[in-house]
Amino acid sequence: MNPARRIALKFAAALAAGLAAPLRALAAWNKEAFQSKTAASALKELGVAASTESKDILIEAPQIAENGAVVPIEVTSNLPGTRSIALVIDKNPFPLTARFEFGEGAVPYVKVNVKLGESSFVRAVAEAGGRHYTAAREVKVTIGGCGG
Protein backbone atom coordinates (compact mmCIF):
# COMPACT_ATOMS: atom_id res chain seq x y z
CA MET A 1 0.00 0.00 0.00
CA ASN A 2 1.35 3.44 -0.81
CA PRO A 3 3.20 4.43 2.37
CA ALA A 4 2.01 7.98 2.00
CA ARG A 5 -0.84 8.78 4.26
CA ARG A 6 -3.56 8.89 1.68
CA ILE A 7 -5.96 11.41 3.05
CA ALA A 8 -9.05 11.21 0.91
CA LEU A 9 -10.64 14.36 2.11
CA LYS A 10 -14.26 13.75 2.60
CA PHE A 11 -16.61 15.41 0.16
CA ALA A 12 -16.16 19.13 0.88
CA ALA A 13 -19.58 20.70 0.99
CA ALA A 14 -19.88 23.92 -0.95
CA LEU A 15 -20.60 26.79 1.38
CA ALA A 16 -23.39 29.14 0.39
CA ALA A 17 -21.79 31.98 -1.55
CA GLY A 18 -22.75 34.56 1.04
CA LEU A 19 -21.23 32.75 4.01
CA ALA A 20 -17.68 32.38 2.75
CA ALA A 21 -15.28 35.31 2.73
CA PRO A 22 -15.51 36.66 -0.84
CA LEU A 23 -12.67 35.83 -3.21
CA ARG A 24 -9.85 38.29 -2.45
CA ALA A 25 -10.11 41.05 -5.07
CA LEU A 26 -8.21 39.33 -7.85
CA ALA A 27 -6.77 41.03 -10.86
CA ALA A 28 -9.82 41.19 -13.11
CA TRP A 29 -10.12 38.39 -15.67
CA ASN A 30 -7.72 39.33 -18.49
CA LYS A 31 -10.43 39.84 -21.14
CA GLU A 32 -8.08 41.17 -23.83
CA ALA A 33 -5.70 38.23 -23.57
CA PHE A 34 -8.41 35.56 -23.34
CA GLN A 35 -10.38 37.00 -26.24
CA SER A 36 -7.38 37.32 -28.56
CA LYS A 37 -7.90 35.29 -31.72
CA THR A 38 -4.21 34.41 -32.22
CA ALA A 39 -1.58 32.97 -29.89
CA ALA A 40 0.76 35.88 -30.68
CA SER A 41 -1.75 38.60 -29.73
CA ALA A 42 -2.77 36.69 -26.58
CA LEU A 43 0.86 36.49 -25.41
CA LYS A 44 1.38 40.16 -26.24
CA GLU A 45 -1.61 41.01 -24.03
CA LEU A 46 0.06 38.99 -21.26
CA GLY A 47 3.17 41.11 -21.67
CA VAL A 48 5.21 38.33 -23.21
CA ALA A 49 7.49 40.10 -25.69
CA ALA A 50 9.74 37.16 -26.54
CA SER A 51 10.14 33.62 -25.29
CA THR A 52 12.89 31.07 -25.76
CA GLU A 53 12.39 27.32 -26.24
CA SER A 54 13.27 25.46 -23.04
CA LYS A 55 13.60 21.75 -22.32
CA ASP A 56 13.02 22.55 -18.63
CA ILE A 57 9.30 22.87 -19.28
CA LEU A 58 7.75 19.40 -19.46
CA ILE A 59 4.37 18.95 -21.16
CA GLU A 60 2.61 15.62 -20.75
CA ALA A 61 -0.21 15.37 -23.35
CA PRO A 62 -1.70 12.53 -25.43
CA GLN A 63 -0.31 12.32 -28.98
CA ILE A 64 -3.77 11.26 -30.20
CA ALA A 65 -7.05 12.20 -28.52
CA GLU A 66 -10.12 10.25 -29.57
CA ASN A 67 -12.05 13.50 -29.36
CA GLY A 68 -11.29 17.07 -28.47
CA ALA A 69 -13.75 17.48 -25.59
CA VAL A 70 -11.42 16.28 -22.81
CA VAL A 71 -7.65 16.39 -23.41
CA PRO A 72 -5.61 16.08 -20.19
CA ILE A 73 -2.58 18.43 -20.23
CA GLU A 74 0.07 18.32 -17.50
CA VAL A 75 2.76 21.01 -17.31
CA THR A 76 5.77 21.07 -15.01
CA SER A 77 8.35 23.91 -15.01
CA ASN A 78 11.76 23.02 -13.65
CA LEU A 79 13.02 26.55 -14.35
CA PRO A 80 14.15 28.06 -11.04
CA GLY A 81 11.96 30.92 -9.85
CA THR A 82 8.98 30.09 -12.08
CA ARG A 83 6.15 32.51 -11.15
CA SER A 84 3.54 31.66 -13.77
CA ILE A 85 2.57 29.18 -16.50
CA ALA A 86 0.22 30.02 -19.38
CA LEU A 87 -1.45 27.40 -21.59
CA VAL A 88 -2.03 28.27 -25.26
CA ILE A 89 -3.79 26.05 -27.84
CA ASP A 90 -2.74 27.45 -31.22
CA LYS A 91 -5.67 26.30 -33.38
CA ASN A 92 -8.48 27.09 -30.86
CA PRO A 93 -10.75 30.06 -31.69
CA PHE A 94 -9.35 31.73 -28.55
CA PRO A 95 -5.87 30.23 -28.08
CA LEU A 96 -5.19 31.44 -24.50
CA THR A 97 -6.70 28.70 -22.34
CA ALA A 98 -5.35 29.29 -18.83
CA ARG A 99 -2.75 31.15 -16.81
CA PHE A 100 -1.67 30.15 -13.34
CA GLU A 101 0.34 32.25 -10.89
CA PHE A 102 2.26 30.31 -8.24
CA GLY A 103 2.75 31.92 -4.85
CA GLU A 104 5.05 30.89 -2.02
CA GLY A 105 4.31 27.18 -1.29
CA ALA A 106 2.96 26.18 -4.72
CA VAL A 107 5.02 23.99 -7.04
CA PRO A 108 5.07 25.33 -10.68
CA TYR A 109 2.96 22.43 -11.88
CA VAL A 110 -0.63 22.10 -13.11
CA LYS A 111 -2.78 19.44 -14.69
CA VAL A 112 -6.08 20.32 -16.36
CA ASN A 113 -8.50 18.88 -18.92
CA VAL A 114 -8.91 21.16 -21.96
CA LYS A 115 -10.92 21.24 -25.19
CA LEU A 116 -9.28 21.19 -28.63
CA GLY A 117 -11.36 22.32 -31.61
CA GLU A 118 -9.06 20.37 -33.95
CA SER A 119 -5.57 18.88 -34.02
CA SER A 120 -3.22 21.54 -32.70
CA PHE A 121 0.02 22.38 -30.94
CA VAL A 122 -0.44 22.91 -27.20
CA ARG A 123 2.05 25.48 -25.90
CA ALA A 124 3.17 26.24 -22.33
CA VAL A 125 4.75 29.63 -21.59
CA ALA A 126 6.51 29.96 -18.24
CA GLU A 127 7.78 33.15 -16.61
CA ALA A 128 10.94 32.78 -14.54
CA GLY A 129 13.48 35.38 -13.44
CA GLY A 130 11.69 38.06 -15.44
CA ARG A 131 12.07 36.16 -18.74
CA HIS A 132 9.70 33.91 -20.68
CA TYR A 133 10.32 30.33 -21.80
CA THR A 134 8.18 28.06 -23.94
CA ALA A 135 7.64 24.41 -24.95
CA ALA A 136 5.00 22.78 -27.19
CA ARG A 137 3.54 19.38 -28.00
CA GLU A 138 1.25 18.41 -30.89
CA VAL A 139 -2.05 16.70 -30.08
CA LYS A 140 -3.95 15.04 -32.95
CA VAL A 141 -7.72 14.94 -32.55
CA THR A 142 -9.53 12.17 -34.42
CA ILE A 143 -13.20 11.29 -34.87
CA GLY A 144 -14.21 8.36 -32.71
CA GLY A 145 -17.38 6.32 -33.11
CA CYS A 146 -19.64 6.02 -36.16
CA GLY A 147 -19.78 9.73 -36.93
CA GLY A 148 -23.57 9.42 -37.08
Binding site: K140, T142, I143, C146, G147, G148
Partner: protein
Protein backbone atom coordinates in the same frame (compact mmCIF):
# COMPACT_ATOMS: atom_id res chain seq x y z
CA UNK B 1 1.11 12.96 -53.43
CA UNK B 2 2.16 9.43 -54.37
CA UNK B 3 1.11 6.70 -52.01
CA UNK B 4 4.26 5.43 -50.35
CA UNK B 5 5.21 1.88 -51.23
CA UNK B 6 4.74 0.65 -47.67
CA UNK B 7 1.16 1.87 -47.60
CA UNK B 8 0.25 0.30 -50.91
CA UNK B 9 1.45 -3.08 -49.59
CA UNK B 10 -0.64 -2.51 -46.48
CA UNK B 11 -3.69 -1.62 -48.54
CA UNK B 12 -3.33 -4.59 -50.88
CA UNK B 13 -2.71 -7.00 -48.03
CA UNK B 14 -5.86 -6.04 -46.15
CA UNK B 15 -7.94 -6.11 -49.33
CA UNK B 16 -6.87 -9.67 -50.16
CA UNK B 17 -7.30 -10.87 -46.60
CA UNK B 18 -10.88 -9.64 -46.44
CA UNK B 19 -11.99 -11.27 -49.70
CA UNK B 20 -10.30 -14.58 -49.05
CA UNK B 21 -11.20 -14.79 -45.37
CA UNK B 22 -14.95 -15.53 -45.59
CA UNK B 23 -15.99 -16.08 -41.94
CA UNK B 24 -15.92 -19.80 -41.13
CA UNK B 25 -19.46 -21.15 -40.77
CA UNK B 26 -20.30 -21.04 -37.03
CA UNK B 27 -23.95 -21.93 -36.74
CA UNK B 28 -25.89 -20.13 -34.03
CA UNK B 29 -29.38 -21.30 -34.96
CA UNK B 30 -30.24 -24.97 -35.42
CA UNK B 31 -33.77 -24.61 -36.85
CA UNK B 32 -36.27 -22.25 -38.47
CA UNK B 33 -38.18 -22.54 -35.20
CA UNK B 34 -35.35 -20.82 -33.32
CA UNK B 35 -35.43 -18.00 -35.85
CA UNK B 36 -39.19 -17.60 -35.27
CA UNK B 37 -38.59 -17.54 -31.50
CA UNK B 38 -36.15 -14.60 -31.83
CA UNK B 39 -38.48 -12.92 -34.31
CA UNK B 40 -41.31 -13.09 -31.73
CA UNK B 41 -39.11 -11.48 -29.06
CA UNK B 42 -38.19 -8.65 -31.46
CA UNK B 43 -41.86 -8.01 -32.22
CA UNK B 44 -42.79 -8.02 -28.52
CA UNK B 45 -39.93 -5.90 -27.10
CA UNK B 46 -39.28 -3.41 -29.91
CA UNK B 47 -41.45 -0.46 -30.92
CA UNK B 48 -41.45 1.91 -33.86
CA UNK B 49 -39.70 5.26 -33.49
CA UNK B 50 -39.32 8.04 -36.03
CA UNK B 51 -38.68 6.61 -39.49
CA UNK B 52 -37.74 3.21 -37.99
CA UNK B 53 -41.00 1.27 -38.31
CA UNK B 54 -41.72 -2.32 -37.25
CA UNK B 55 -41.83 -3.29 -40.94
CA UNK B 56 -38.02 -3.21 -40.73
CA UNK B 57 -38.14 -6.34 -38.59
CA UNK B 58 -39.68 -8.50 -41.34
CA UNK B 59 -36.98 -11.03 -42.36
CA UNK B 60 -36.37 -11.75 -46.06
CA UNK B 61 -35.08 -14.99 -47.63
CA UNK B 62 -31.52 -13.66 -47.60
CA UNK B 63 -31.55 -12.93 -43.86
CA UNK B 64 -33.14 -16.33 -43.12
CA UNK B 65 -30.48 -18.13 -45.20
CA UNK B 66 -27.58 -16.25 -43.62
CA UNK B 67 -28.97 -16.54 -40.06
CA UNK B 68 -29.73 -20.25 -40.36
CA UNK B 69 -26.35 -21.17 -41.89
CA UNK B 70 -23.89 -19.07 -39.89
CA UNK B 71 -23.42 -16.70 -42.85
CA UNK B 72 -22.27 -19.58 -45.12
CA UNK B 73 -25.36 -21.11 -46.78
CA UNK B 74 -25.06 -24.12 -49.12
CA UNK B 75 -23.61 -23.24 -52.57
CA UNK B 76 -26.77 -23.74 -54.59
CA UNK B 77 -28.95 -21.66 -52.24
CA UNK B 78 -26.35 -18.88 -52.06
CA UNK B 79 -25.98 -18.60 -55.86
CA UNK B 80 -29.76 -18.64 -56.33
CA UNK B 81 -30.37 -15.90 -53.76
CA UNK B 82 -27.46 -13.81 -55.08
CA UNK B 83 -28.95 -14.03 -58.58
CA UNK B 84 -32.30 -12.80 -57.25
CA UNK B 85 -30.61 -9.88 -55.51
CA UNK B 86 -28.58 -9.08 -58.64
CA UNK B 87 -31.68 -9.06 -60.82
CA UNK B 88 -33.29 -6.49 -58.56
CA UNK B 89 -30.49 -3.93 -59.01
CA UNK B 90 -31.65 -1.02 -61.19
CA UNK B 91 -28.87 0.85 -63.03
CA UNK B 92 -29.83 4.44 -64.01
CA UNK B 93 -29.44 5.55 -67.63
CA UNK B 94 -26.29 7.42 -68.71
CA UNK B 95 -22.96 7.60 -66.88
CA UNK B 96 -22.68 5.72 -63.62
CA UNK B 97 -20.02 8.09 -62.29
CA UNK B 98 -21.04 11.44 -60.72
CA UNK B 99 -19.08 14.09 -58.79
CA UNK B 100 -16.30 12.72 -56.53
CA UNK B 101 -16.36 15.91 -54.39
CA UNK B 102 -19.97 15.21 -53.38
CA UNK B 103 -18.94 11.57 -53.06
CA UNK B 104 -16.45 12.54 -50.34
CA UNK B 105 -19.20 14.13 -48.20
CA UNK B 106 -21.40 11.06 -48.63
CA UNK B 107 -18.53 8.75 -47.64
CA UNK B 108 -17.90 10.85 -44.51
CA UNK B 109 -21.53 11.08 -43.36
CA UNK B 110 -22.79 8.46 -40.89
CA UNK B 111 -26.39 9.68 -40.97
CA UNK B 112 -29.39 8.14 -42.71
CA UNK B 113 -32.19 5.67 -41.80
CA UNK B 114 -31.70 6.12 -38.05
CA UNK B 115 -34.77 6.85 -35.92
CA UNK B 116 -33.30 10.25 -35.05
CA UNK B 117 -32.75 11.22 -38.70
CA UNK B 118 -35.45 13.69 -39.71
CA UNK B 119 -37.09 13.75 -43.15
CA UNK B 120 -34.91 16.69 -44.26
CA UNK B 121 -31.67 15.11 -42.94
CA UNK B 122 -29.55 13.99 -45.91
CA UNK B 123 -28.34 10.44 -45.37
CA UNK B 124 -24.82 9.26 -46.12
CA UNK B 125 -22.99 6.04 -46.88
CA UNK B 126 -21.08 5.69 -43.56
CA UNK B 127 -18.18 4.46 -45.76
CA UNK B 128 -15.37 5.68 -43.48
CA UNK B 129 -16.91 3.73 -40.60
CA UNK B 130 -15.68 0.53 -42.23
CA UNK B 131 -13.24 1.43 -45.04
CA UNK B 132 -9.99 3.25 -45.58
CA UNK B 133 -10.38 5.52 -48.61
CA UNK B 134 -8.51 8.83 -49.00
CA UNK B 135 -5.13 9.19 -47.26
CA UNK B 136 -6.12 12.50 -45.66
CA UNK B 137 -8.73 10.75 -43.47
CA UNK B 138 -6.85 8.95 -40.69
CA UNK B 139 -10.02 8.05 -38.78
CA UNK B 140 -11.17 5.11 -40.92
CA UNK B 141 -12.62 1.73 -40.01
CA UNK B 142 -11.29 -1.73 -40.74
CA UNK B 143 -14.48 -3.83 -40.85
CA UNK B 144 -14.31 -3.66 -44.64
CA UNK B 145 -11.26 -3.92 -46.93
CA UNK B 146 -9.15 -0.80 -47.61
CA UNK B 147 -10.26 0.93 -50.81
CA UNK B 148 -7.09 3.09 -51.12
CA UNK B 149 -6.19 3.50 -54.77
CA UNK B 150 -9.32 1.57 -55.86
CA UNK B 151 -9.58 3.41 -59.20
CA UNK B 152 -5.82 3.43 -59.74
CA UNK B 153 -5.64 -0.35 -59.20
CA UNK B 154 -8.72 -1.23 -61.26
CA UNK B 155 -9.07 1.56 -63.86
CA UNK B 156 -11.93 4.02 -64.34
CA UNK B 157 -13.68 1.95 -67.06
CA UNK B 158 -17.46 1.69 -67.70
CA UNK B 159 -17.34 -1.99 -66.63
CA UNK B 160 -15.66 -1.06 -63.33
CA UNK B 161 -18.19 1.80 -62.81
CA UNK B 162 -21.03 -0.72 -63.23
CA UNK B 163 -19.35 -3.14 -60.81
CA UNK B 164 -18.78 -0.38 -58.22
CA UNK B 165 -22.36 0.92 -58.66
CA UNK B 166 -23.80 -2.57 -58.19
CA UNK B 167 -21.55 -3.33 -55.22
CA UNK B 168 -22.70 -0.15 -53.42
CA UNK B 169 -26.35 -0.62 -54.43
CA UNK B 170 -26.43 -4.22 -53.14
CA UNK B 171 -23.19 -5.84 -52.03
CA UNK B 172 -25.07 -9.05 -51.20
CA UNK B 173 -25.78 -9.66 -54.89
CA UNK B 174 -22.04 -10.39 -55.11
CA UNK B 175 -21.51 -12.06 -51.72
CA UNK B 176 -24.76 -13.17 -50.12
CA UNK B 177 -23.92 -12.84 -46.40
CA UNK B 178 -21.48 -9.92 -46.68
CA UNK B 179 -21.62 -7.51 -43.74
CA UNK B 180 -21.88 -4.53 -46.13
CA UNK B 181 -25.38 -3.01 -46.03
CA UNK B 182 -27.56 -3.01 -49.19
CA UNK B 183 -27.25 0.79 -49.43
CA UNK B 184 -29.26 1.24 -52.63
CA UNK B 185 -31.82 -1.51 -52.14
CA UNK B 186 -32.58 -0.35 -48.55
CA UNK B 187 -33.26 3.22 -49.73
CA UNK B 188 -30.31 4.60 -47.76
CA UNK B 189 -28.65 6.18 -50.82
CA UNK B 190 -30.21 7.73 -53.93
CA UNK B 191 -29.02 6.92 -57.45
CA UNK B 192 -27.14 10.25 -57.63
CA UNK B 193 -25.44 9.59 -54.28
CA UNK B 194 -24.25 6.17 -55.50
CA UNK B 195 -22.97 7.74 -58.76
CA UNK B 196 -21.03 10.31 -56.69
CA UNK B 197 -19.50 7.49 -54.60
CA UNK B 198 -18.54 5.60 -57.78
CA UNK B 199 -16.66 8.74 -58.89
CA UNK B 200 -15.04 9.08 -55.47
CA UNK B 201 -13.77 5.49 -55.84
CA UNK B 202 -12.70 5.58 -59.50
CA UNK B 203 -12.04 9.17 -60.66
CA UNK B 204 -8.24 9.73 -61.04
CA UNK B 205 -8.72 13.22 -59.51
CA UNK B 206 -10.34 11.78 -56.38
CA UNK B 207 -8.03 11.80 -53.31
CA UNK B 208 -8.68 8.02 -53.07
CA UNK B 209 -6.50 7.58 -56.15
CA UNK B 210 -3.86 10.24 -55.53
Amino acid sequence: MRMSASLRICAAATALAACAGAPVAERHFSSEGELREVQAVLKRDIHARGSATLARLEPDALQQACNLNGNAPPEALARQLEAEQMAAIRYPAGSLAGDWRRGEQIAQSGRGLQWNDGPKDVGGGSCYNCHELAPQEASFGTLGPSLRGFGKLRGNTPEMQKYAYGRIYNSKAFNLCSQMPRLGQSGTLSEQQIRDLVAYLLDPESPVNR
